[in-house]
C-alpha cells in the first residue's frame, strides 16, 4: 500500500467495492474533503468514468441521461450541495429515475465553520421532503453494506436514495494547521 493509499479510509474502499459489485460505471461529484479518498479511487479505476460538476444539481439529470442510455452511476456531494438539488430532484421523482447520492456531512459534529450548520441540519428533512429515501451511516463497518443496499434499492425499485455519511464517521475538518 502506497503512502497515498493510507490516506484513503477503509470504508471508502468498501464503497468502491460496492460500486464494482453493482456495476456502477460512472461517478459524478462536487468535491468534498470527506470524499477525497473515494474520488481518488474512482479516478484511478478503469471501470468507472468520472465527471466533476459545476453544481451538484447537474448530477441528477446526468445520472438520468446515463440511465436512459443503460449506464448506472452515483453522485457524490457534501451536505451543502443537497440544497442546490431541490428542484432538480423533481426529475427523479416524476420519472422514477434511479438515483444514488452519497452525501458527506458537515455542520453536525464538532463543526468549526458555523456557515455549514444551517444546511447540515436540513439535509435529511430536505431529502425526505423531496422524496429521496435516506440511509445514515455513523460507523465505518456500515458503509459498505449500506452503499450496496442503497444501490440495489435505487436500481431495483427505481428510487432516489441518499446515503448520509456522518461527520463523526469522516472526522471533523482539522483547522489547527497541524
Amino acid at each position: 500500500m502506497s503512502e497515498a493509499d493510507q490516506l484513503i479510509h477503509s470504508w471508502q474502499h468498501d464503497i468502491l467495492t460496492a460500486f464494482a459489485g453493482a456495476g456502477i460505471a460512472h461517478v459524478s461529484y462536487i468535491p468534498d474533503g470527506g470524499h477525497k479518498g473515494l474520488i481518488q479511487l474512482c479516478e484511478r479505476s478503469n471501470d468507472i468514468g468520472t465527471t466533476v460538476l459545476t453544481t451538484e444539481e447537474e448530477g441528477i439529470p446526468l445520472s438520468a441521461g446515463l440511465w436512459l442510455g443503460g449506464v448506472k452511476s452515483a453522485l457524490l456531494m457534501q451536505s451543502s450541495g443537497v440544497g442546490n438539488c431541490i428542484n432538480m430532484l423533481t426529475l427523479a421523482e416524476n420519472c422514477r429515475f434511479p438515483l444514488v447520492m452519497l452525501i458527506t456531512m458537515r455542520g453536525e459534529w464538532g463543526e468549526f465553520v458555523p456557515w455549514q450548520i444551517p444546511m447540515g441540519k436540513r439535509v435529511e428533512p430536505v431529502l425526505d421532503t423531496m422524496g429521496v429515501d435516506t440511509y445514515r451511516c455513523e460507523r465505518a463497518e456500515d458503509v459498505g453494506p449500506t452503499t450496496e443496499a442503497a444501490i440495489a434499492h435505487a436500481y431495483q425499485s427505481d428510487r432516489a436514495v441518499g446515503v448520509i455519511l456522518a461527520q463523526r464517521l469522516i472526522g471533523a475538518k482539522n483547522w489547527s494547521g497541524k
Binding site: 465527471t51 445520472s63 441521461g65 436512459l68 442510455g69 443503460g70 426529475l91 420519472c95
Partner: protein, 191 residues
C-alpha cells in the same frame, strides 16, 4: 433577412434522423420536437429547468456511437451555463446542443432573456472549452447544421436565432415514467 421559423428549422434538423437520440428542454423546444414527429427516442423535459443539457451529456457518454442532440431554448440554457464546462471536460464527439434562441421567455409572458441584452451563448460555450460553436441566422444554413449534427464531430453548440412568434399547439406525453420507459425500451431493450 428573414427570421428563421422554429418549427421548420427543427423539422430540418431531425430530417432522416437515423439513430439520433434527442433530449428537449422544457417549453417550446419540447413542443417543436414533438411537432416534427414523435419518436420513442425523444426524451421531453416538462420541468427540471436547466437539466436537459446534462441529461444529454449522460446519454452521449452512455451511447458514444449514436448522435445525441439536445434541443433547448435560451432561457433553459441560461439556467445551466455551467453545463458547458461540464460537457467540455469530456469532449463528447457525438453530442450537439442546439439552442433555439428567440431572446424571450415564451412560456411565461414574453419577458426578455439575457441573450437579447448582451449574452452570447456561443461565445460562452467557446470560453468553456467547446471547440465547435456556431450562430445560425439564415434558414439556408440549416441543412449544413443538420449534416454537422449527424457527423459525430462534436461537441458542438449551435445557437439558432429564431422568430419570436406563437406556434400551433403540439403537446407530447407528460408522464415522466412513460417517457423513461419508452425511451429505454427503444434504446436498451428493457425498462
Amino acid at each position: 433577412m428573414t427570421e428563421i421559423a422554429r418549427r421548420s428549422a427543427v423539422a430540418e434538423l431531425l430530417r432522416d434522423r437515423g439513430e439520433m437520440l434527442v433530449v428537449t428542454g422544457l417549453g417550446s423546444p419540447t413542443y417543436d420536437a414533438f411537432a416534427a414527429g414523435d419518436d420513442d427516442r425523444n426524451f421531453y423535459f416538462w420541468g427540471a429547468m436547466g437539466g436537459a443539457t446534462m441529461a444529454g451529456l449522460g446519454l452521449a457518454l452512455a451511447q458514444p456511437d449514436r448522435p445525441v442532440m439536445i434541443l433547448t431554448g435560451d432561457g433553459e440554457m441560461l439556467m445551466g451555463l455551467g453545463s458547458f464546462s461540464t460537457i467540455a471536460q469530456h469532449h463528447p464527439a457525438n453530442l450537439s446542443i442546439v439552442i433555439l434562441d428567440n431572446e424571450h421567455y415564451s412560456e411565461t409572458g414574453q419577458q426578455k432573456t439575457a441573450t437579447g441584452q448582451g449574452t452570447d451563448l456561443a461565445a460562452v460555450a467557446a470560453a468553456c472549452g467547446i471547440t465547435d460553436t456556431r450562430v445560425i441566422t439564415e434558414e439556408s444554413e440549416l441543412a449544413g447544421l443538420r449534416d454537422a449534427i449527424h457527423s459525430g464531430k462534436g461537441p458542438m453548440v449551435a445557437v439558432v436565432k429564431i422568430e419570436n412568434a406563437p406556434q400551433p399547439r403540439a403537446i407530447p406525453i407528460r408522464d415522466g415514467v412513460a417517457l423513461k420507459h419508452r425511451f429505454r425500451r427503444a434504446l436498451v431493450g428493457s425498462i
